[in-house]
Subunit: 325 residues, 2 copies
């Protein structure tokens, strides 16, 4: 009896990916790690070259109905509104203050630029980190009614842990704001700030009361999306990843760049097809179209042609969140 229990426990402990259903997707991860860590095998990779990169929004945590950072920016506009009476009659701020969901859903790139400039710049880097930290504690996701930092995909946490246990250095490579993600990356992903590559705005070295500060300027410095992800990986890491994980068109070049290296490479895309436990959107596979984390039919076909592995949230994930959904 006790022996049986011990055996069962040890079998369970031996599975590094317990939130994944058995099948070819899970097997692709296990086989890849086996190949690159098999010292006398033909595809062995030295530990210092074991780099794995993860997109964040939609790959590691929920990004619908809007990116978390966009939610932050909108909340911030509402919080700052009393100090900006002129916003009441000025778009895009007017729509945000009025809570006009339809107008917000149709914001253009330049609308968002104005919002980012008003909410992400004009303060020091330290002040910004403090504002984000405070917001994360009180903000709740509209569907799940939980802090955003709890809406992390448990199966992906297991993949990151598993890769790290096998000598990989894990990086976040996000189109989102580098400084925004760095606030919580260590706490929720065990990824330190120096392993977060993201988009950034200009900072300026200035003095206040005789002390140096870094002021955030309302001007884009680097966009870490699409081709920018390959460029950012080279700039910040200087090594080509052996494994890359994404979920949308913005991750295409990162996966392509990863695959262009020699030896064993693992490219995976999270496909949001679980309307019941999370969300379902595409438009690949006939799922509803979206502006947030779009996964086109063309990307699905390219993935199949190139051997990129599609992760079906519905079929491959036994459990999505650590709180048991």
């Amino acid at each position: 009896m006790l022996a049986t229990l011990a055996l069962a426990l040890s079998a369970q402990a031996a599975d590094p990916l317990p939130s994944w259903n058995d099948g070819s997707t899970k097997q692709a991860i296990l086989s890849f790690v086996k190949e690159v860590t098999h010292k006398s095998g033909p595809k062995y990779v030295e530990p210092e070259d074991r780099i794995a990169t993860f997109d964040q929004d939609g790959t590691l945590w929920v990004s619908h109905p809007l990116y978390t950072q966009a939610m932050f920016a909108l909340d911030r506009v509402r919080e700052l509104a009393p100090k900006h009476p002129e916003w009441k009659n000025k778009e895009p701020f007017k729509a945000v203050i009025a809570g006009d969901r339809e107008a917000m859903a149709n914001f253009t790139e330049s609308d968002w630029e104005l919002i980012v400039a008003a909410t992400h710049a004009g303060m020091t880097t330290e002040q910004f980190l403090g504002i984000v930290k405070d917001w994360l504690v009180k903000a709740k996701h509209p569907k799940f009614k939980r802090p955003y930092t709890e809406l992390v995909y448990q199966p992906m946490i297991e993949v990151m842990d598993y890769l790290r246990a096998n000598g990989f250095k894990t990086y976040i490579v996000t189109g989102g704001g580098q400084e925004f993600v760095r606030v919580y990356s260590e706490q929720i992903y065990s990824i330190p700030p120096e392993q977060v590559v993201g988009s950034s705005i200009l900072t300026k070295y200035e003095y206040k009361d005789g002390k140096p500060i870094l002021m955030r300027e309302p001007k884009v410095f680097f966009i870490d999306d699409h081709a920018g992800k390959a460029i950012g990986i080279n700039l910040f890491i200087g090594k080509r990843p052996y494994a890359a994980f994404g979920n949308s068109g913005g991750d295409r070049e990162m996966l392509e760049w990863t695959q262009a290296g020699d030896g064993a490479r693992l490219m995976m895309l999270v496909y949001h097809d679980d309307a019941e436990r999370e969300y379902a959107y595409g438009p690949a596979g006939g799922l509803p179209d979206t502006k947030v984390g779009t996964f086109t039919q063309a990307l699905m076909e390219e993935a199949k042609k190139r051997g990129w592995v599609i992760i079906s949230m519905k079929n491959d994930w036994r459990r999505i969140f650590s709180f048991g959904q």
Copy 2:
């Protein structure tokens, strides 16, 4: 007898900085490390926050009579000259091909920009790394008649090893080219490419024969010098250093930024006052003026006022190079 020998050997092994003469400079390093690693002490620093940044040229290796990367660029101009007959009559190339030392010594910023564009761009990142690698094998320093990669300061290697043995993550933060330094940083400093922060030019994601490449463009992306060093540290590391090492005016802001944090901080400047074993230049302390790694009297006075520690190569270093000089 044997016991005495064992005791002597163990005392020797206990000195983590054997190439440093005893004195207040060496003591400053030892005391700093003791303070930040003393778990119940008031200045204890968690291991994940132990960041140390090192300028390269003149701080970790020889930078006279010219920066190594400038030597590379000049050699490269000579190598490419047969393919560019027009250079014979076009400055600054004409002076380089003719070996006109006086003209080269007076090159302006824009002369160097033309040389960098001609020698560092118009190729893929992989091609560039290969060219640098090949050059490093064959190039020799004009005074020491050795490969540049041997002209590393042994006392600084010991400091880096000592800091790493005490949980520090060591970074190079250089005004030089990030991709240039990444070629050899692991080999000569045990610092991996992802821990090299430097200046960079734009790269562009393109395709050649269906494969993605990163093309180096003749356009500056980021200058990691002066205020750029503080900005670069925040951009690439996202943490403030506890220890910073430099040797010239370009490192001033990095030291200032380091010191502006709380708790124990170590700021050090290598002062080249050893004409016999290496070079002597200032103009601080009445040493000969230079355009390469200038250490002004004003910087010396600021260092004294702020408690930045001056490392005298002549007095503090028992040995400068691993080959025994």
